[in-house]
Amino acid sequence: MIFYLTALVLGLCLSAMGLGIFITMKIFRIPDITTDGSYTLGAVVTALLLAAGWPLPAIVVITALAGAAAGMITGLVHTRLKIDALLAGILVMTGLYSVNLSLLGRSNLPLSDANTVFTLFPLFSNPVLNELIVGLFFLAILAGMLAYVLRTDFGLAMRATGNSESMTRALGINNDRMKIIGLSIANSLTAISGFLVAQYQHFTDINMGIGIVLVGLGSVLIGDALISWLGIRKIGWQLLFVALGGILFQLVLAVALSLGIDPAL
């Protein structure tokens, strides 16, 4: 049981990234793979600031800003330099590997002694339940904020940009600016996933982000399948189903592992 609960918590931690990829992939229709870099960036910033004894609220904010900066660079490279979005993402992701490595100063940093966000509310004696609550708390806040933004006039403009650029231009929307902001939001969500996972697994590793974009894409694909299957139109519900997709993804992995499939395969 604990095994599956652990998978559930990990799924909750990664669902922020799923929301970010939902923004780039489904709303803007941009294949953004800056994710691999910004996820690790979030974890690196978290590890460094935690080790330096910074308070958690400040760390969340700085992590989110770091991720947003990464997304902004991808956005600028894509819109200003007119480089294909996929390539822009690859460029920034590769660049971030060096940035992360020089920030961290070594290939990994354990956080075993640090007080993490997961020990913040010791409501239950079982640590997994506490972790579950923290994961749910973050998901509720992030999904709630995102759902609000996407329902505002600004959010409508964002959603229309990925839908019909000729329409948004004619309606006074600066598509390039929208894409830059969208990529910033997406990557700051991804960095927050890095923030959570680093603390959850008690270490930051320079390679922890490699291929993580696939987990996010998987979550969005599962979520999107559920969304179109159930015909969900309300954006807030769509976000919840994307998060659910992320959790299902981890549970499927857990089932596969418990069946004895070699993870190194």
Partner: protein
């Protein structure tokens, strides 16, 4: 008022496939004038419309709205004056968003799209009233994605969306080209009513000579990137349809 001064546009300048889409167009369109633009394919009509909208920057010349020189303003900044209906019904609406969401964005064409939820009961009621004018029964489908509607319905809605915010200039690029005759009739009828009611300065491109004859109070024919005929209201009214057909004979 739209003033075009010596507008020239050359695509692929200096290359083997160089095209002079516009060669020195001088044109003044007065307020509330409804200009119908006709001409063969490749005569420069759509390029001219795009120059007015800001989608294409001219190689030479100035574009002036009232007293303001807007030559260098990109399309999304010219939306303060200009509303557009595209030839492709898909071009003017966001298919995955609901009718209501599309109208909300259109209602903010000249304004900032801020971080507040702008769709409330009053707005819904307003959109409902507007859409009811079309008589297509769409007023009860406000939450439906606009992409699920037919091309004619979308084009009619795009036209209404153009008037949700302050509009000075309305650009219609073959709005009925992709529609069946009945939908085309609805779209053109709606357009005429709105243009008269709101006194919009309008440029309509059409290949339908019946429409060109019937609508508007000024008729301009283009060929090879130049204005070759310019008929004012009286001349246009006296123009017989057969004469006009002969232009293209």
């Amino acid at each position: 008022m739209i003033t075009l001064r010596n507008i020239q546009k050359t695509f692929n300048r200096g290359q083997a496939n160089e095209i002079s889409a516009l060669r020195s167009v001088d044109l003044t369109i007065k307020d509330a004038e409804f200009v119908v633009l006709v001409g063969a394919n490749g005569s420069g009509k759509t390029t001219l419309l795009n120059v007015i909208a800001g989608a294409i920057l001219p190689s030479e010349g100035r574009v002036i709205f009232d007293q303001e020189d807007v030559t260098l303003l990109p399309e999304h900044q010219r939306s303060r004056w200009v509303a557009r209906v595209f030839q492709n019904p898909l071009g003017g609406t966001a298919p995955d968003l609901s009718i209501l969401d599309n109208f909300r964005l259109a209602a903010l064409r000249t304004q900032k799209k801020g971080l507040r939820i702008g769709i409330n009961q009053a707005f819904k009621a307003k959109v409902k009233d507007r859409i009811a004018l079309l008589g297509l029964g769409l007023e009860n489908k406000l939450q439906q994605p606009i992409g699920s509607l037919s091309g004619g319905q979308r084009q009619a809605l795009t036209l209404l969306m153009c008037t949700m915010d302050q509009t000075d200039i309305l650009l219609l690029d073959e709005p009925t080209a992709a529609l069946d005759p009945k939908s085309a009739e609805i779209v053109m009828g709606t357009a005429e009513n709105l243009i008269k009611e709101l006194k919009l300065t309008t440029v309509l491109i059409t290949h339908n000579l019946q429409d060109a004859h019937r609508y508007g109070n000024r008729l301009i024919q283009m060929a090879e990137g130049q204005v070759i005929r310019d008929l004012n209201q009286a001349e246009k009214e006296n123009l017989k349809r057969e004469e006009m057909f002969a232009w293209f004979g």
